[in-house]
């Protein structure tokens, strides 16, 4: 078992002006799950692109040996012929085609150009059983959730007789339940002799499923560690050990201490949402947010926890200008007075801001500059007689570049060229600049590196310390426990509880997040009784 299936030696890859990889060494033993971790920009994705032939042989330095044989892949097809299959973060399935068609896309079961449907279907059934997906081969991809789509991707890889499976952040878009299934499947595949490279931000995942971990930093391989003493044994490597190597410095304090707000509005309720109910925009029979009520005070950080599909984003977006779904009933109050948030402009006018979980699709104009993205939500205020104050705009952008530590040479840099963490800081700046009273942050640290995360936590803390009411929606329980004053839980469209930070634990929250038997709770978290 100690034989190496893959050896990459001294891999170097440069882009104009940037050395993305600088002598990376990595060896994967046959039949192991080998995790690769590191901050964004550490070179993980580039390394995998070199391995899979996206960056063809000759465009990088160093050598790749697969099963002892020196490799020179010209493209992805060449690496796939050897049994190396990469599954990207953004899934590459065609939504309009069926599971079977997707699995054999580009790899069709055909004789003389005519597809053999019977062998396609039989083979698909077999592969679906192997990955534990209970769907018919004819089901269209569009009808599946992200978790099931991920399984289809793996089935597709298996159809190509994969020997080394590369998964790039496979659980980024999955809920805990689907993540657990997927990680379990990776373990099963390992037992069947399929080696796996797992790129992940989530350290607990690495500890859970990986045998070995290689840490990359600034394009160099820092260290390869054994995750556990024996195969199947308990993990021996600690989060602290990995984090230290990833960031190259001691993280004595990952979450900032909460700075209390002592202004005149301390303790005053800022936003109250009552009985908020929303139906699905297409499938209008489905109630996605059901009689949800909550309140958040000035200077308070309220977390909203929930599994995928609990309705957290849907709740936030529908409160924010009815940007999602069909409104059924419910009211929004600011400082105890009911207000209309029928349009985004109205919501912004009342001092509510919503920072999306999907910054590339819903948050940023990637082809425009940092400065113009930051000013967008507050343009009417930054303009006189409909003309934008260019000096003021640039000053504001400079201020945020400094205070938020946005890493860019000037504020006229195109946002699409920034890293995920810096893009997130631009979205946050945009909404802080809108000068809201209430900020709803949806997954504020998704897909960004550890260092940037800590910076974002500090910003959130400061916002609350300035008296703003902050709502943080997150799938990472440790993050909610780390930054919030109170944590509300949602399950299947309903609010199932509100816990103070002191009394909340991961287990306790998870229990509330999976409850199906409760009715609505009121704004303070008490169950609504029959009499009221």
């Amino acid at each position: 078992m100690t034989q190496h299936v893959l050896e990459m030696r001294g891999i170097t890859k440069s882009f104009p002006g940037v050395r993305a990889l600088d002598g990376v060494d990595i060896s994967v033993r046959a039949g192991e799950v080998h995790a690769v971790c590191g901050e964004n920009g550490a070179g993980k994705s580039t390394l995998m692109k070199v391995l899979s032939g996206v960056h063809p042989h000759g465009s990088y330095g160093g050598e790749i040996r697969f099963e002892g044989e020196l490799c020179a892949f010209r493209d992805i097809r060449a690496s796939e012929r050897h049994g190396i299959v990469i599954i990207h973060q953004e899934l590459a399935l065609v939504p309009q085609l069926s599971i079977a068609e997707n699995i054999f896309l580009g790899n069709e079961r055909a004789a003389r150009g005519v597809i053999s449907w019977s062998s396609t279907l039989v083979e698909t059934e077999r592969l679906l059983r192997r990955v534990g997906l209970d769907e018919r081969p004819g089901t269209r991809i569009a009808e599946l959730g992200v978790g099931k789509q991920q399984l289809v991707e793996i089935a597709k890889a298996l159809a190509k007789r994969v020997k080394l499976l590369i998964l790039d952040e496979p659980t980024a878009a999955l809920n805990d339940e689907d993540s657990r299934k997927l990680l379990g499947l990776i373990g099963e595949l390992r037992d069947q002799g399929i080696s796996c490279i797992l790129i992940s931000h989530k350290l607990n995942e690495i500890r859970q499923v990986a045998d070995t971990v290689t840490v990359l930093r600034d394009g160099r391989s820092i260290e390869t560690l054994a995750v556990r003493g024996s195969v199947g044994g308990p993990a021996t490597v600690s989060d602290e050990q990995l984090i230290t190597r990833m960031v190259g410095r001691e993280l004595d304090q990952f979450y900032p201490d909460r700075t209390p707000y002592t202004g005149e509005r301390a303790g005053q309720v800022a936003l109250t949402v009552r009985d908020w109910t929303v139906r699905h925009p297409v499938d209008t029979g489905r109630t996605v947010v059901d009689s949800v009520s909550f309140e958040v005070r000035h200077g308070e950080i309220l977390g909203i926890a929930g599994l995928m599909g609990a309705g957290r984003t849907e709740l936030a977006m529908s409160v924010f200008g009815r940007s999602w779904g069909r409104y059924v009933r419910g009211s929004v109050e600011l400082h105890g007075r009911e207000v209309s948030t029928r349009t985004v402009a109205e919501a912004v006018g009342h001092g509510i801001a919503y920072v999306t979980e999907d910054r590339k699709t819903y948050g940023l104009n990637l082809i425009d500059t940092i400065s113009r993205n930051i000013s967008l939500a507050a343009l009417p205020r930054m303009a006189r007689h409909g003309v934008v104050d260019a000096h003021g705009e640039r000053r504001v952008a400079e201020r945020y570049r400094g205070s938020m530590n946005i890493k860019a040479p000037t504020v006229f840099e195109q946002v699409g060229r920034l890293s995920g963490g810096n893009q997130q800081k631009v979205v946050l700046s945009q909404w802080i600049n809108a000068e809201p009273q209430v900020l709803i942050l949806d997954e504020p640290t998704r897909g960004i590196d550890v260092g940037a995360k800590a910076e974002i936590y500090t910003v959130i803390d400061q916002l609350a310390a300035q008296g703003k009411a902050v709502v943080v929606i997150s799938s990472e329980l440790s993050e909610l426990l780390g930054v919030c004053d109170r944590i509300a839980t949602m399950a299947f469209g309903r609010m199932t509880g509100v816990l103070d930070r002191a009394e909340a634990t991961q287990e306790g929250l998870m229990r509330l997040m999976t409850r199906t038997d409760v009715g609505a709770v009121d704004a303070t978290g008490r169950p609504v009784t029959e009499e009221s």
Binding site: S323, N365, L366, L379, P409, G416
Partner: protein
Amino acid sequence: MSQTTLGKNAGDSRERDGGGTSTARALTGQALRALRDNMRQYGMVIALVLLLGLFQVWSGGDMLLPRNVTNILLQNGYILILAIGMMIVIINGHIDLSVGSLAAFTGAAAAVMMVDHDMPWQLALFLSLLIGAVVGAWQGFWIAYVGIPSFIVTLAGMLLFRGATQILLDGQSISPFPEGFQDISQGFLPEVGPDTNYHNLTVLMGVLVCAVALFQEWRQRKQALAYELHVLPFRMFLLKCAAIVAAVLAFTLTLASYRGVPVVLLILGGLLVVMGYVMRNAVIGRHIYALGGNRAAAQLSGVKDKRVTMLVFVNMGVLAALAGCVFAARLNAGTPGAGNLFELEAIAAAFIGGASMSGGVGTVLGAVIGGLVLGVLNNGMSLVGISQDVQQVIKGLVLLAAVGFDVWNKRRARS
């Protein structure tokens, strides 16, 4: 994917060194990148100059004769007006196929009002523009509020208004127009002052334009320096200023030695300045770019998507009506066949001038430059006696080459 990775690493490396020299290097890199990003527009200015030179030599000096330069403006005025409106539509992420038919319809309406109903030409012009606005609002309504793709709505409009023009004119041409109306397209600024062999008012305007342009350049440089942005070395800056002055003076003197500034040029200049300013500095202009760049994000930032799109199409309608009147005035007739294929000329001008199919990119000046490239091609090829059929082929290839160059350029920038 590779773009993001590259960006991240670039950010990291900047963070790591961060000394004085590397900041300078980063700024130089950015200036080069800015140059590369604007390559399409600079490229088109260079292409325009090369084309003029080519045809000047080929035609034995006829190209840049004052009469021909004036002609190019008169021949292309209406296309340039349409191109300005089309550029804004494309930046907003839409397309308008109906502008040719709409120009024909509004031109015909003006003709009917003036010739059949003896309406004063000013009123007829105003009502035509109003019709353009109403039609724009009609199409904008279907696109913005009902959600029908602009391609379909304006394709319907293209058929609809062509038919309406035929009905309105009963298949006949109507003429002649009052002189005042003809002047929109055939008129020039009046002669004033002593006889100097040059058109005095035109020379005066040329000097004024020079002064304003120099002031703008100086102010921009001052601002850029204040923001510590990369600027041209001082000597290069002087050279650039000299080039601007030379170009403006050469152009105005050329016009001044014929009949002076045509009215169409005044209209175009006004549109260029106003629309350019609105797109650059007004909130509505920003909203148009933001919607084209990322519609969902703009909506979630409180941009009123529907209202902005509506306004963009109303603007396009008014400009199409203006172009229709200019064209009718040039022909001195309202004809059923007017404006045929204008929409495609305008769209081609916008794309040659730097628009992107996906929206969010482009400038009003770019549209005018793109339109001029097409216009100079048309005029030059006719001067040297290339047949109409071959001209079509060449124009098609130029459009393909211009956009192809841009795509290639972007891909090179990315990898």
